[in-house]
Symmetry: D2
Subunit: 254 residues, 4 copies
């Protein structure tokens, strides 16, 4: 696959030195192993190699969507971790053709993953009350070419969801219980509502409100990701880990 202007590249020197960049004429990337002329990449293939001005070898690969979200998105808010995003989308049954409502949009990380998965026939409706944050998210989605699967709504989701018969409602908000009535109305039968919240108190309030609203199969959980330092004969979990990101509550409309 040939690289053209505007494409994302992952420039790999070694495990500690690898850089995400967008190819643009006249731009260069400064690393501690020398300068990489991004110009040069145009017309070359993913998988090819080049050298910094100091002669250090660089492998040019195609980044994954997760790379771009984690390292290329302009951040306005905390970004959801891939472990949580993955669990949410799979358990919500999101796939090609799904229609999903999301709120709030935030940085657009989860929006991008949803948009990526519902392509080409599905749709993501994302609600965000803070205008400047919505604008950042829009730009982020445009930069990965996924904005056309998303309708950005500068609206308060607590005041109503316009869509009906949707497959999933994903809420990354501090007070998801205020939106559960609207979510119920928007979902099709069997449709899934998922909430992502940082504290145990929010988990409790969300799960209890889900039951009160008549949702079924209500569940609350969290995921822990434990990375390993692998060396021949010296393998062990890493010493410092992310001990908490957030709690996930799931339920379905009967």
């Amino acid at each position: 696959m040939v690289i053209k202007e505007g494409d994302w590249v992952l420039l790999y020197i070694d495990a500690k030195r690898n850089y995400l960049a967008r190819v643009r004429r006249g731009h260069e990337l400064h690393t501690d192993e020398g300068v990489i002329a991004l110009d040069e990449l145009i017309g070359s293939e993913y998988g090819s190699t080049l050298r910094t001005h100091l002669g250090v070898k660089v492998i040019v690969t195609r980044p994954t969507l997760v790379d771009i979200i984690l390292r290329g998105f302009k951040r306005s808010t905390q970004i959801i971790y891939p472990k949580d995003a993955a669990f949410i989308v799979l358990n919500a049954g999101v796939g090609p053709g799904s229609v999903v409502v999301e709120a709030g949009t935030g940085t657009g990380a989860l929006t991008a993953i949803l948009a990526y998965l519902v392509r080409p026939s599905g749709k993501v409706y994302t609600y965000e009350i803070r205008k400047e944050i919505l604008e950042v998210a829009k730009r982020n989605l445009r930069r990965v070419g996924l904005d056309k699967y998303v309708e950005f709504k500068h609206r308060d989701v607590r005041k109503g969801i316009d869509e009906r018969n949707v497959d999933a409602v994903v809420l990354d908000l501090p007070d998801p219980w205020t939106v559960l009535g609207n979510a119920y109305a928007a979902l099709r039968s069997g449709g899934v509502v998922v909430c992502f919240v940082p504290t145990v108190n929010q988990l409790e309030r969300t799960v209890c409100a889900m039951r009160e609203h008549g949702f079924i199969k209500v569940e609350g959980l969290e995921l822990l990701e434990r990375r390993y330092k692998v060396l021949p004969g010296e393998t062990r979990p890493v010493n410092v880990m992310v001990g908490h990101t957030g709690f996930i509550a799931f339920a379905r409309r009967p």
Copy 2:
């Protein structure tokens, strides 16, 4: 959405009593709250209710793919947990249009998730050496209408992968290190290989072999899912949890 013969339904009485069934003329489902005539469901809507012969109310909802995989698939081997499957597919960048090689097929749980996500333009090539297990997987995929996105190969993946330029190779095998050379050859630049193994020793051997084969961005980790018992003012993690499913190793072709 109207239910027709052959459709899957989730019949919900309460949190402990909910049943997955396939609607078939002349069949009935026996529960400890009475018999449900599956006949009756044909022509009704998802979201409607009916009663058992003892008069107990039953809500009829549409199951998610995960429900069907976990409770409706005929099992020939251990099934991958949703938390692991979700993490694998997202980090491998699998989505609509992706071309994925998988081995071994096993029960077809991960095959089904991959097929669901690559629809309609992508493809899953799944390799399995045990003929009878491959047949069970085929039937499972057919039962969820996803077999048309899958090519089932009764072949030893250690002897070669036919496909080239694929987006991801997913290995759920006891000795993934024997397939890494073939996986490397099959992947496009930036393509992801993922291995899922039960023991730490296999994780170590896999990660080390990935590095030796020249893969980049090699990582080893595991996910822990912690469920909560949520009650107002009495919330706590559940007392007994699944403490281990398997380790995940990731890498990319440069």
Copy 3:
């Protein structure tokens, strides 16, 4: 060391078949590998072997205190796990000579560990409101010869703690916040109060109340114990684990 009547023994056939028993004249122990005459043990040494009436070899060893607590104590209530008990006593600075107040007594498991550690010059004052439960605990402590280091008090600790200038107050109660004022008054400067509670809500309420009462160095945490199935080349965490026992809150009197 010679075994005499009344002593505890751990009778070990294999990893799955090992039994805790108290040596008594005329008693026998029935196992699925045959009958063991407990008589025979009197006068033999710990470390010797004998045979069941079916000829199966049995190793006679001296049990640890934790063995006896976990398997030999008559249970009236849930027993604290060794991981939690160990963490509590060490962080509370309990050792030979310490003076400790405990409430409630419950089965006496933690009482026994405290008594074991404060010997011979220290003392444990244990408060329990339920008379029959206190009696069970007394008998349990007597059976391990530790009752002489304990004063059993059939009293409501919420109504007051008689002792002053104690080194530690350990509360295994559903509402420890109701006792924190009394604990403060009982403790010496630098003395530690520890509370063990099952839910997150109780943890929150306890920690907040500790701060309000003027305690310093307030901390809340939990411990997870992950056991491994170790086999050469096939080592992994066990599949099912105890996912939650309780939360521990610590603080000190300034």
Copy 4:
């Protein structure tokens, strides 16, 4: 209790500013809230307050042994975490009067905890091959007044353990399997050997060697400590945690 020269004090301004110090004539402690004259403390009581030269209030409390080990010990090697030390000593049955062999001594943290618990009639024999490290440990133990319960041995524990009939052998060494034969010979029947190792490979090798040496009740595990950030209505696990310290293997001499 009156503070005298040489005593340890914990000087508490707030949760972030609290300092461990040893009271010495003519010394002062510099904090970002002003200077504390350590002189002034002599003759005052634990629990009293004083002020820095800037007028900020300081509470003077008696530190726990764990405080002194973690913050007052001169470190020559990695220090064992309290969660691991606590679990080891309790499960090894260490208490007043116990006779324990330890190797290597390292910084003396575990030595100090063992010495604290075996007082006054028990004994800790600690082996260390590196002379300068043993000297640091000796000084650390002297600073807490526990050196009289310890015999420091500048010897290679792999070449033999002099003691016999001991209650427990605790090994914090990279290759505990080389010492298991000596440990077996040193232990009384029912005595416990405990090994603490950082990698999974060492855990595997240790547990397998324990079985080969004829030890019984062999177990391998690890402990995870999860701290909570507790605020009213906003309680959650902390975001960054210590994800791994080491593995613990236990066994008993039959």
